[in-house]
């Protein structure tokens, strides 16, 4: 039952991504119908705590978390082609912000501060490193997560004399609504980012960075700002997530899996369009839930990563443009019109 409900809600989220892709594609037909359906789907997701089991919103919160991480990762790494492995760093900064602030401040405040802290960290990191190309950038961002984790573990142990800290909890329903709120904000941001002059500049960098620079685009600024905006969302959801964890330490907050899994989701879903990473995130979160509960019966709960690994390798080999690429190919075949045209992957 919980799978059915959360799957339906996930499809609603995929729909909202598709809706924005359509808006950005300047598709005008069926405007009223699609907008109506959008409101309906959002209402369906928002009322999940009312009609669902008590566990449904909890699972849905996790799904939305990964959707936000995957979409915000793609926001920067998709168009620019820079593979950031710093997601866990920004997410962890959000978690630790909440650990310090929750209890003394209301959630909106520490969510915003968590996002802002990650935003500022990303500005600094971006200014330092976005001149590193390709693989160096990936290595650096990965190293950053580990550096923060180890330094923080040292501080916990030797300066404050703790291992980790307790986080003031917030009830599951409230967490669900905050998560959903950040999702809506992310969708709106993605829309305006893409539609604006800034989005055009970002796309030009993705297509040919050197040509963009020589055409007057301030490539460094555009990249840093996009990096920081995507980090804002990672930090904000980190702060929300912390209240669900109750206890955090550097190992929990800066777990590199929070870097890898959203990347895997985005690759699997496809990065050319907004709804790609949403499909990937929803699919993998549900799969993970299913596998961990099934495998847990045999005491093998953590083995889900084995399946993720197999799917990742297969997806890279056989679906270079992700689920989105497959869907595009199928719809084009169905329409029987024009040459097969795919969104470039990066």
């Amino acid at each position: 039952m919980q799978y059915l409900l959360t799957s339906i809600c996930s499809l609603c989220m995929v729909y909202s991504g598709w809706f924005i892709d359509r808006l950005l594609g300047k598709e005008k037909r069926g405007k009223w119908l699609t907008s109506g359906v959008l409101l309906l789907t959002l209402a369906l997701v928002a009322t999940l705590p009312v009609y669902g089991t008590s566990y449904a919103p909890i699972l849905m919160t996790t799904i939305i978390l990964y959707i936000i991480l995957a979409v915000s990762w793609t926001m920067f790494s998709g168009p620019t082609g820079y593979m950031s492995l710093a997601t866990a760093a920004f997410f962890g900064v959000g978690i630790y912000t909440a650990a310090f602030m929750a209890g003394d401040f209301p959630p909106p405040v520490f969510i915003l501060v968590g996002g802002a802290a990650s935003f500022i960290l990303a500005l600094g990191v971006g200014a330092l490193t976005l001149r590193l190309r390709g693989i160096y950038f990936a290595i650096f961002t990965f190293g950053l997560v580990e550096l923060i984790r180890h330094v923080l573990a040292f501080i916990e142990l030797h300066v404050t004399g703790t291992r980790g800290r307790f986080v003031f909890g917030v009830d599951n329903e409230t967490i669900f609504y905050y998560m959903l709120g950040v999702f809506v904000l992310l969708m709106i941001t993605a829309y305006f980012l893409n539609r604006s002059k800034f989005g055009l500049a970002l796309r030009s960098i993705g297509e040919y960075e050197a040509a963009a620079a020589h055409t007057g685009v301030n490539v460094t600024m555009v990249k840093i700002v996009t990096f920081a905006v995507s980090a804002f969302f990672m930090g904000a959801v980190g702060a929300i997530w912390a209240t669900k964890l109750h206890y955090v330490d550097p190992g929990i907050a800066f777990n590199p899996l929070f870097t890898f899994i959203p990347v895997l989701m985005a690759i699997f879903g496809g990065m050319g369009l907004l709804y790609g990473p949403i499909i990937g995130a929803a699919f993998f979160t549900l799969l993970k839930e299913f596998l961990t509960t099934t495998l847990a019966k045999y005491g093998l709960g953590e083995l889900y990563m084995l399946f993720f690994g197999v799917i990742l390798v297969a997806a890279i080999l056989f679906m270079p443009n992700g689920v989105v690429g497959v869907i595009q190919r199928l719809t084009q075949k169905w329409r029987k019109g024009g040459p097969v045209e795919e969104h470039a992957d990066t």
Partner: protein, 289 residues
Amino acid sequence: MFASILDIIIDGLFMGGIYALLAMGLSLQYGVARVLNVSHGEFIMVGAFLTLALHTGLGMNPILTLVIIGPIIFIVGYLLHRTLFSALLKSSPSTEVFEGKSLLATFGLLFIIQNVAVLIWGSATRSYSYLASPVEIAGAITSLNRMVTLGITIAIGLAFYIFLARSRMGKAIRAAAQDPATAGIMGVNINNVLALCFGFGLLMAGIAGVLYSMCFGFYTTMGLGFTIIAIIVVVLGGLGSIPGSFIGGFILGIVGQITNTFEAELTLAAYYFIFIVLLLVRPKGIMGK
């Protein structure tokens, strides 16, 4: 005081030898085959567990297991490149795209290998005792297995360097590293060379695993930590520079021992710190051109 400095240097050299092997392997994979293999460290783990199986199961001498484990891991690497990576290479429009795709594919391999290992060997720390008798060198105390390990790593490092510098295959590898397109025209079977390099790279990790298992406990999830160290060393030595990786390994080993003596918890943080500063100040590494 003198003895303790010597202790640090000897243990640093010993760890450095392991790092150097690992890093040379990674350097081959990245420098020539353009695959930044994050599953590299998994093969040190696999090497260690295979040694354990052969040693405790069949009573083989751990050093002799090299003769069996080495070729197995080499063949695995060769076949991996021939199937997975060469397919990715074919479907990638540019080197940059290939680097990104292959990096992600190796993340997939990492998850697969690690979880299969957990399935087979569980997650407890394992070890066995071999040549653990103490040795004294100028007042510093170390163990025989460490000295043997250091000796083997240096021997392999030098042998491989000579292989690259002198042999026909070594020349083909160096040609492929510099300019794959031209090397292809010159009659080098480029796919074969790349696959060989990938195989040799994994072989280094496997050997490091056999040696490591003689001296320390090991567990199935330790791979990523070693991969990260190998990446740091490779960047330290200059991406793609084999001698750079070799020297870089020893430097990191000694730095690690020094921080370890003063503040053990900061060892990894110190590695990352060196690494990040180096990336910012001199991304080409100490030996990079």
